[in-house]
Symmetry: C2
Subunit: 646 residues, 2 copies
């Protein structure tokens, strides 16, 4: 066992009890104990109750000179709809490193969306004996970051519609006068945020009265084209009836009805900004330059043009601090940001990883999770997140299950909520072997970045020795540094000790530098095509069809031209593609090749810093089933404990 003071020895039961029962069976350490074990001084964190603390960004200044730990990213193979235990493996690996191998280790996880907790999915704190606790606090509210995102996103949305409304009824002069009201001395002035817009417009005058009528128009009238607005409202609730709505139907809004919709909060660009920002000053700039649509002349309109970039930053000022929690076995966890893994890049935050790298220190480990497989998870981790963070991973873990490999080998369809076919619960080595083409491509794609790849075979009770060996052999043949069977769900960190040792060796034996899949200075199309090739596609098709499903849309080519003209072609690309196949077609399992990847539309998150082509239709607002999870969730009002959360 580790020498760390906060390691908790957890007695393991078989069969494994329900997640909430395991979580409730231990008394968490006061979070100040976890901080102390990390040598994190109380001046660098704020307590949020007994088991959560926000780590202040200022700790980065304090630790600036100190060395980094090893950086490990956890991805997976192409998953079944049931998930292959990527979060659970991330937690299990860290419990092994911290509680059994005596390493300093920090786990960096995404904050889950609260909406799905009450829908079908349940919580996202890991599972079994590899969990983050308290799991109810992890899954609900946490320290309010997603609520802050919701508030900021919707303030910007309100600012857009209200501005269009006010511009429609006022002359240029009246607008200017309202925007620059006289102060106590009767003088009109621009304020700081207005100077940002003036600068963008190339106007160097400093007093409102100096503007020519044409400059007044340019400055005061944003002239937003309502059909170009890409900014939607958000809510952290699975509310399918808000996917497409008509707003402004009240009599006071004078017939300015507009069609729009709500996404789930984690799909907000502000979430992506939070995940990719590196400092308060950087966040201020990113939030201000978020583009909400175009003017009628085709110029991008930003949050700062609307005067609201500063207020958004104020709303997000505490959200930028990651939340410290603990695993079941007492190792530290930083929970921070949780952007959508398809329309955004699906990784936890840069600032959490940076803080973790310093807290882990030389010889220590930071284990961070990427969304889904190497196609959209690790790819975005490398080409977007690492590009912005300048952090370099040494090792990538790919989580595989016999179940998913059998599916890729041609097994029957796997559907959430339905019993698994017998093929998945009885030995079938050839099905597994056939499915390893999927694993092999994830390995070679990931290796191409210059990291060592360790395959974590997340073992289920029904997996046979021969099946597990088949995966191990296939992984090594495909170039994995190692491939290890692990049982952390059933046994906690102890079940991932071999994985921990393999990861440590992989980190210590990197021979190559980090290599991106594409340079930034090629065209948007060339970048899309580079990524498409990594999926196995032979080419890319830019679709003509309209996407009336999500919101009004222009065709892909037109959007690419527009973003290039607007000066955004140097951004990295974030493909919005299904996670259930390397291709755009979720039904194509294994390692498809030779297909043409259709790009239906292209959008951009300019503040976050990426262009996102839509490969098919992505739902950005889940729904509730007939019997949502919430039927089982209640509070034991005598003890204050949450019951029925899964």
């Amino acid at each position: 066992m580790s020498t760390s003071k906060t390691v908790r020895k957890v007695e393991v039961l078989s069969p494994v009890p329900a997640d909430i029962d395991i979580a409730n069976s231990v008394e968490p350490f006061h979070i100040s104990e976890i901080a102390k074990d990390l040598n994190l001084s109380p001046k660098y964190y704020d307590l949020y109750g007994k088991y959560k603390a926000k780590v202040l960004l200022s700790v980065l200044d304090e630790l600036e000179g100190s060395g980094d730990g090893y950086y490990v990213v956890v991805g997976g193979i192409t998953p079944t709809p049931l998930g292959e235990g990527k979060s659970t493996t991330t937690v299990g690996l860290c419990q092994a490193l911290g509680a059994f191998l005596d390493k300093k280790v920090v786990t960096c996880l995404r904050q889950p969306s609260q909406g799905p907790t009450f829908g079908i999915k349940g919580g996202a704190a890991g599972g079994g004996y590899s969990q983050v606790i308290p799991m109810d606090e992890f899954n609900l509210h946490l320290t309010g970051d997603i609520h802050a995102i919701t508030a900021a996103n919707n303030l910007l949305a309100a600012a857009i519609d209200t501005r269009i409304f006010h511009e429609s009824t006022q002359s240029d002069k009246a607008l200017l006068n309202r925007l620059c009201p006289p102060n106590k001395e009767g003088k009109r002035n621009f304020n700081d945020i207005m100077f940002r817009r003036l600068k963008k417009l190339g106007i160097s005058k400093t007093k409102p009265e100096e503007l020519t009528p044409q400059e007044v128009k340019k400055f005061a009238r944003l002239d937003i084209d309502p059909t170009s607005i890409t900014w939607r409202r958000v809510m952290d609730v699975n509310d399918r009836f808000l996917r497409k709505i008509a707003i402004g139907q009240g009599p006071e809004e004078k017939g300015m009805v507009r069609e729009t919709g709500f996404d789930i909060s984690v799909a907000s660009e502000i979430m992506a900004v939070l995940a990719l920002t590196t400092s308060l000053a950087d966040m201020r700039e990113r939030l201000g330059k978020m583009v909400i649509g175009n003017s009628k002349a085709g110029d991008p309109v930003t949050a700062d043009d609307l005067g609201v970039g500063g207020a958004l930053t104020v709303l997000m000022k505490d959200a930028i601090n990651p939340t410290l929690m603990q695993t079941l076995e007492g190792t530290p966890v930083l929970v921070h940001a949780g952007p959508f893994a398809n329309i955004a890049h699906g990784n936890s935050s840069i600032v959490a990883d940076k803080i973790a790298m310093k807290l882990a220190g030389p010889g220590g480990f930071v284990v961070t999770e990427a969304g889904f497989g190497s196609d959209i998870g690790t790819e975005k981790f490398m080409n977007i997140k690492c590009r912005y963070s300048s952090l370099t991973p040494q090792c990538a873990v790919i989580v595989a299950t016999i179940r998913a490999l059998k599916m890729h080998g041609g097994g029957p369809e796997v559907t959430a909520g339905k019993p698994l076919d017998r093929a998945y619960t009885t030995e079938n080595v050839s099905l597994v072997e056939a499915g390893c083409v999927n694993l092999a491509r994830h390995i070679s794609n990931t290796k191409a970045y210059g990291v060592n790849v360790v395959v974590a075979i997340n073992m289920f009770a029904t997996d046979s020795e021969a099946e597990l060996n088949a995966v191990r052999n296939a992984a090594l043949a495909a170039g994995a540094y190692d491939a290890v069977v692990c049982t952390h769900h059933a046994h906690g960190g102890k079940g991932a000790v071999d994985l921990g040792i393999a990861v440590q060796k992989a980190c210590e034996n990197v021979t190559q530098p980090l290599k991106f899949l594409y340079p930034l200075d090629i065209s948007i199309k060339e970048k899309i095509e580079a990524i498409a090739r990594s999926y196995g596609a032979s080419g890319v098709e830019y679709s003509e069809q309209r996407l009336d499903h999500l919101f009004m849309s222009n065709q892909a080519e037109k959007q690419i031209e527009m973003y290039s003209r607007q000066g955004f072609s140097g951004l990295p690309i974030c493909m919005a593609k299904t996670q259930y196949s390397f291709s755009h077609n979720a039904a194509e399992k294994g390692a498809p090749t030779g297909f043409s990847l259709p790009i239906r539309d292209v959008r951009a998150s300019i503040g976050a810093g990426f262009i996102y082509p839509l490969v098919g239709t992505m739902s950005t607002m889940p729904g509730l089933p007939t019997r949502p999870c919430f039927y089982d969730i209640d509070l034991d009002t005598a003890t204050g404990k949450v019951i029925g959360l899964s």
Copy 2:
């Protein structure tokens, strides 16, 4: 000065600097120091950063046997649109009692809505040298209670529309099977929340398979009448374009378009529940019995019928704990709940007041603020809040300004954002004297509850001695226990010492028991009429017209009949009336009489526990002006300090 360890001597400048500059000029005490001074053990609070703590409800069990402090409610006269300094006076009075008169004192304030902070109004932490600090934390996010309300309110909204959707496509049997899926042993069971519905339906069977087909239909099919739905979505943003919207326009929602809208979050019934609940168990019951509309047969449909009452309680479990903060001079403040003062009862929470009463203890003071004047503020405090809390106030403070009294005496219209007419800034004793009819009615209405009334004349620099004397004389003539000029905005607690002494005497010399305005066991109409008479009305008119403005509505009489038939006639009444007049007409200043009060519609918050007649149209979603406050708000990214917040 007080012997309390946390009293802060603040040096007062003249002219009074901006609120945020005053707030930023002092370093707040660590909130644990404030707690220590209250003898509040760390086990009874959770820190939220350095300057906020959530006080846990469990402290009430600990302090059950100990005595209460004096209970003082602060209301006002009928205000101008500029506000007459009710919050500022509440804070100033407490600073006087705590920092200058050496009393134990706890201030109980409402949490302000975040939306208006970015709109026209700015913050709500008091002002000048009578403020709650840190004012940015007070005004933004606080400890997440309003965000929790938003999440809970909208989860219920999503549950309603999704349930209607699923019921529309499934047979009774299929619904039952989905609601009661087989467990691992293949058995179908009801869960706890389903037994609540079965009990309500009078079905005592315990297994799904025992239900007759008719019972299956009754149980599984809520059969919600979409036109009867009163539950709206909420957002803590001033987003006028959401006042009236059409939802469900996406193709997957199969044409089930419905008209509805968003209110600002503080208008949610869940906020009113939070303010009126007395314990976790009580909150669970209130949230479960909230009525969202009727079945097509006319029966009320509740959150528990939808299976979501427990989940709502889980979302609200931390929100039930009040937030401890401090005044500028270091006295303790409990911030908790902030229900709308017109469609709801506009008072801070019962649990905060109850905790405060124990922490202040015998001889100590709890000062709590009521929304607006005695017509809708103190009236609701007495007849709704005190009825549910069983707490008894000894003293009511009525805040008056020369400015507002002049308006009531016939002065020109006062409009926010426009300069004040000369009448308000130069001496005019007769205008003041004429306006005192308004003050006199507030005094006599308030005295009728059996409390001693102290008038606090919130002095402005332009007020003359003769004007102030006129108010003092009129107040005493109308039966006030005392009337005191105070200058706490300019001087902090020192400026309210006389007020503090008057309040202390008033509390020590109560001679009457608390007397409600009406008993609960009379009819809804009789209760409405009793309240209308207290406004000066000669009668009540139940309007026939439809309110298509807010949401679809039935006429008042029909609603009263319906609520009576549904068994809700025993609830207290919460009038939704303008705060700008005793009557329904905001332009009628002074003390109008002889009018007939029109009731346009009647609604109910069954979970919170009141019926609310609509006297005219109440806007429940504010808008943003052309130049919202957010233009000035930014973060100094070097220091992390908020700038431009007013």
